[in-house]
Each structure stands twice: as C-alpha cells, then as structure tokens.
Symmetry: C2
Subunit: 400 residues, 2 copies
C-alpha cells in the first residue's frame, strides 16, 4: 500500500490517502518516508493536512513540519493547536475572500487567474482592509451582476458567523437548524480566519452519534483504537462502576436473605424485576438524550417531554404489573403475585422518573447527558428495583 | 402561530414554516386554511414542499393538490410517491441543468435571465437532447472558461450518480466516503431527474443514528410521535420479548432452587452475573453495529474485528473473575469464590462471542444489525449467564 502511494503522482496520492479511514491511514503513513509525506501534505487543503499531521507519531511531527514551506507550516501549526472539539479544529484556512472595494469585473479577473484550481466554492466572503468580515455572496452572483458594481454593495449580510473557539457540537447544531452549507470562522475581532463546510460537519455528526451510543452502553472515550489493551481500558471504568453498583444489589439481596429463604420462589422474579424495571429507565433516558443532542426542543418543552416519559413508564408498569401478578399467582399464590406485580409497577415508575430527569439535569449542569443512560442509571435502577421488590415482599409476607 | 404565519409575506412564511421542527409544524398547519398552505407550497423548493404535503392530514392532501398549478402538482405527486427510505424521497426536482451543445456565453445568458432566483448552486449538470446526463461542472468554471467553449467539452465526467430507487442509507454512505456536496439522481435510462444535496443527507444521518440508538434500547419504529399511546406501543414489543426471555431466566432459577436453598449466598451474585455478563455482549454488539452503520470497514475486516471483541470480552472476564473470586471468598468460602469467578468469566466470553457475531450475521442476512444489541441479545445473555452460573454452582457444590 505504502509503495503504491509513493509511486503515484503526489496530488493523486494525497487524495487517495485522505479516502482511507483514519485507522488504516495512520498505519500506512508509518511506512512512508518523511519527504514523501511532505509532498502529500503540500497537496492537501489545510484542514485535511492538519488532520493527517495530527495522526502521525509524535516524534515524526517536528521532522515533517520542518520540511514544509514556512507559510504553510505556520498555518498547520496553528490548526493543530486548536482544541480537538472546537470549530478551529474542523475549519479550513482556504477561504475565498475578496476585498469589498473590488468591482465585479476585478473579482472575476482574480478568479480567472486562479483558474480551475478553485474547487468547491460555496460562497465568496467579502472583507474590509483589516480582513474583517463584511458580507458574503453566492459565486453565481458575479455572473448576474453588472461588471462595475462594487462587491460590498451586492454582498449579503452574513447571518451566521462561527467564533473560532465554539464547540463543534454547537457548530453542527447551527448547520442543522439553519440548513447551512458553509459558514465563515472569525476571531474575536471579527477577522475572517477560515471556513467550515458541511462535509466536515457530517463527520462531526457521525462521531458524536457514535460517542453517545458508546457512552450509553458504557464505553468511555474517543473512537475505537487498534489495540486490545486500549479497547479494554475504555470499558474498565464502566465495569468498575457496575461492579460496585451491582455489589450493592448483592448486599440488598444478602440483607433480605431471611425473606428469600422463607419463599425461595421470590428469586425467580429477580431477572424480570432487574431487566424490565431498569430498561424502561434506559429507554426514557435515551429518548431525552437524543432530543437534547438534536436540539429539536426549546426550553419550554423539558417538562412536557419528561412528563410524557413518566406517564409512559407508569402505564407500561401497570401493563407489566398485571402480567406479573397473574404469573406469580399461577406459579405460587396470590401473595407472590401481589408482591411481583406491585414491585414491577413501582420499579418502572421510579426508573422512568430517574431516567428522564437525569439527562436533562446533567445537561443543565453542563455535563454530557449521554452519561445519563450509561452505567450510573443502569446500576442505580437495579439497586432500587431490588430494594423495592424485597422491601414489598418483606412487608407483605409479614401481613399475610 | 398560525395567524402570524398567514399575516406574513408568503415567501417568508414558507421559509419560517420549514424551520419549525416537524412535530410542531404538523400541528400548526392544521390551523391554516388550504388556500394559504397552497401559497406556502408554491414558494418552496419541491423537496421541502413534498415533505410538507406528506405531513398534512390524509383528507387535506387531495384538496391542497387540486389547488396547485398542474405542472407543480404532478411533480409533487411524483415525489411523495417514492418510498420513504429511497433516494427519490430526499431529492429535489430543481436541478441546474443545461444542454451540452450550449456555449459558455449562452449558459451565462441563461443564468442571468434567472437572476438572483438561483440560490445554492453547487454544480451545473449537462444533459443531451433526451435529458440524459452527460457531465457536470462547478459553476465557477463558467467564469474562467472562454465564452465560445461548448459546455459538453469543458464538463467533467460525473463519477457518482444516484439511481432513484437507492436506499437513503446507501446515499448517506456515498456522500460520506466520497465527500460529496451534491449528486445527480437518475432514472434507469440515465435521465437526470433531480439532485440530492448534503443538507438532506445530514437529516438522514441524524434520523438513522436515532433509529439505531432506539433499537438498541428496545424502542421500535419511526421518530417519536406525539401521543402517549403511540409512545407505549413502540415499547411493548420489547417488553414482551424481554418478559418471555426473563421468564426463562426465572425458570432457570426455579429449576435450581435446591442449589439456591442450600447456599442462599449464591443469590447475592445474581445481579453481578446478569449485569456484567450481559453488558459486555451489548458493548461488543454496539461497536459492530456502529462499524457496519458507518461502513468504515471492508469485507475482510469482519473476522479481525470480531476476534478483537472476543479477546476483549475474555480479558475483561479474567479481570472481573478475579475480583468476583476474591469477593466470594471473603463473603462466603473458596467454593462460592470459585463458582462466581468461573461463572462470570464464562458468561462474559459467551456474551462477547454472541454480541459480536449476531449483528454481522443479521447484516449478512439483509436484516438490520441494530436489532442485534437489542432485546434479543440482552435477554439471551441473561438466560445463558444464569444457566452457566447455577450449572457451575451445582456441579462444584456436589464435588466439594
């Protein structure tokens, strides 16, 4: 693979290398000499180049950067310096900007000079003498305007600008809501620094969706790495949390061992209580997490959505409670039926209250709501479910 | 809200209505008279208009369609006739196409005639006399080419065309892999019918991610609906599957009740075995589902990725087994420690084998891999985990 790439024309090779998925890419570049990598980088737009550089081994990076032309090197150093989750890290420096005092004719002459080198221009940004953003326009406006018009007169006001230090999830949300295709990135003085295009946003959306999913099943951290050790490290935190949580479930069972010893049949309902009770809460949490992630709701919707989840949890609890009551009655007697039926209703209700509120609470506290359906809720619901079940059992068995 | 919309200029109102999220939109349009809705629809691009029409009440649709101009009505009827998950349903009919025998000067004259009405042109498609797709080019090429050139001579070959009946997930994958911004949609005779743009793909990606997530936690069906009844209906299938599955878990416990009666301490480990054993399998399944969804791996990777998940599951099993052995030893005696330790190792290994293979198997059979981490695997793992645990317990307790 590495040999094939080196033998290719460097512009083509650069394109090919960016089509590889990141895991394979970082393996392949290890076998390519630095002088060749430099050629690839020179042929890439700055955002892709920065991605490639940041995937190199740490000791390779200075060697590669040294070989790059001074200007381009500074640009890439600046790009890789932005925090991974910020707008700066997904933007490109290449941006089609023209001075506001140019005429349409001058602008076209400028574009002709660059010829076919300019690909994928979505809009042209117009700046003042200090590089501050004045406006933007679709490129076809140059075709339909009179050659003498001043660019600043025919440009539109830019409605959406992205501050360079915005979170990339905020950027994705902006593109979603406003149906944007590209947006200018500015620094704190409103100077135009680069642009973000929607294809970069698509990558962000994919990554964030994976992250949320992984967090919900208890996998911590970034995209999957190559080694088994790394793979395991990402799951051990969940295991430890669950271990401690389920240990408490075990202690609950242990402390009720007299009740269990008296009616051993009660153990048969433990799997049902744990699985059905807990999962309704996870479902509520997942619905809320996804709603928050897609920002499809305003502030005023919180209460209503939570209420809907709780009502659903309670109705499902009644439905399952009746099923479980009948089952307990058939297997054992009316006491066992009552215990199991009431317990599953209570467990599902509590679980949907906890599950729907925690993600919203976490998001209000500025934490990641996706942890809300993860290890914490799952084990918490198991403990609560068992305690409710065995508590009700002890009380009812003493009554009858 | 409805009143405000009616009082607005219809072009602006049409824009506003498309910015609302679908749930709110379908509520608002109920209060708007048909004649007003027709005005909105006339001001929308055909893909948005078709979305809006398909969100109307079934009895409203014929009334609205009747009021539309004949041509536009036929277009929209055709758009809403495509299956919801197909390329046809997310494409727009508006497409900037020019005949291949036009010169650059003619093309510019054509564009000037349309004036500022043309927004968001990503590329111009070139067709022959029968409307078949010949090529495409970025709009700025008109600026940089000599006015006399024939369009068919300066156009690029179109590398990616989307057949109108392709699945929308396939389309999303195409945009992802090829970093596309727009793609032409053609019928079976290669006639140009419309185009899909990346902002429509972003919606697809969001929806598919939600769907996968919901399936994994056991919520069946499309985007959340408004009513609680609907909400509950989507979860009852999971509940019933889990109910039957966990019932079998209960039967397993019941059939081992002699073992449990002898050593009641064994019940204390049931939550740990169920939660830790099952979740490793869900994690493996989720990693595989996400990999399949993002299509980041070729056919040859299946075996390797599955093997990695199984190795991780077994290593985590050893780690947890040692923890559980120590705990059993401290709480009870060496027998309880051995039973719990061996059982969790065996449960985690089996669970990761099942979890990593089932999604791949489902996807090879043409089914949705996301069901692989859902109710089936979860309850299956619970049953297997408990059977392993109590089986080992019975055997070991008879030995010692």
């Amino acid at each position: 693979m590495a040999k094939i790439l080196i033998s290719l024309d460097s512009e083509l090779a650069a394109d090919v290398i960016m089509l590889l998925y990141p895991e394979l890419r970082s393996k392949v570049v290890k076998y390519i000499p630095a002088t060749e990598i430099v050629k690839f980088i020179e042929n890439l737009p700055s955002d892709d180049a920065a991605d490639l550089v940041s995937e190199l081994e740490d000791e390779q990076i200075p060697e590669i950067l040294e070989k790059l032309p001074q200007d381009y090197r500074a640009e890439i150093e600046e790009l890789i310096s932005h925090p991974e989750e910020s707008a700066g890290a997904i933007m490109a420096h290449e941006v089609e900007s023209l001075p506001g005092n140019y005429s349409v004719a001058q602008a076209i002459a400028d574009l002709v000079r660059f010829g076919n080198d300019i690909e994928e221009i979505f809009q042209i940004f117009i700046t003042d003498d200090d590089g501050k953003l004045l406006g933007a326009m679709p490129i076809q406006r140059l075709l339909v305007s009179s050659p003498a018009s001043k660019l600043s007169d025919i440009a539109d006001k830019v409605e959406v600008v992205v501050p360079i230090d915005s979170d990339r999830e905020f950027v994705a949300d902006l593109f979603r809501r406003k149906d944007l295709v590209s947006a200018p990135v500015v620094d704190k003085d409103n100077k135009l620094i680069g642009r973000i295009t929607i294809d970069d946003v698509l990558d962000v959306v994919d990554e964030e969706a994976s992250e949320d999913l992984y967090k919900i099943v208890g996998i911590v951290g970034e995209e999957e790495e190559d080694t088994s050790i790394h793979n395991i490290k990402r799951r051990i935190p969940w295991l430890l949390i669950a271990f401690v949580g389920e240990l408490i479930s075990g202690l609950v069972l242990k402390s009720f061992s007299n009740t269990l010893r008296r009616v051993i049949l009660l153990t048969s309902f433990i799997p049902l209580i744990m699985a059905l009770g807990g999962n309704v809460g996870t479902q509520s949490a997942t619905v809320m997490i996804r709603r928050i992630a897609l920002s499809r709701w305003g502030h005023y919707h919180h209460g209503k959505a939570i209420l809907k989840e709780i009502v659903a949890g309670m109705l499902l609890g009644i439905f399952t409670g009746i099923l479980l009551f009948s089952l307990g009655f058939v297997w054992g007697d009316i006491r066992v039926g009552l215990i199991a039926g009431i317990a599953i209703f209570a467990a599902m209700s509590v679980s949907s209250i906890v599950g729907s509120n925690v993600p919203v609470l976490l998001s209000k506290l500025g934490a990641d709501p996706a942890f809300g359906a993860g290890p914490f809720i799952t084990t918490f619901n198991d403990v609560i479910g068992l305690a409710i079940y065995l508590g009700i059992a002890t009380v009812l068995l003493n009554w009858f």
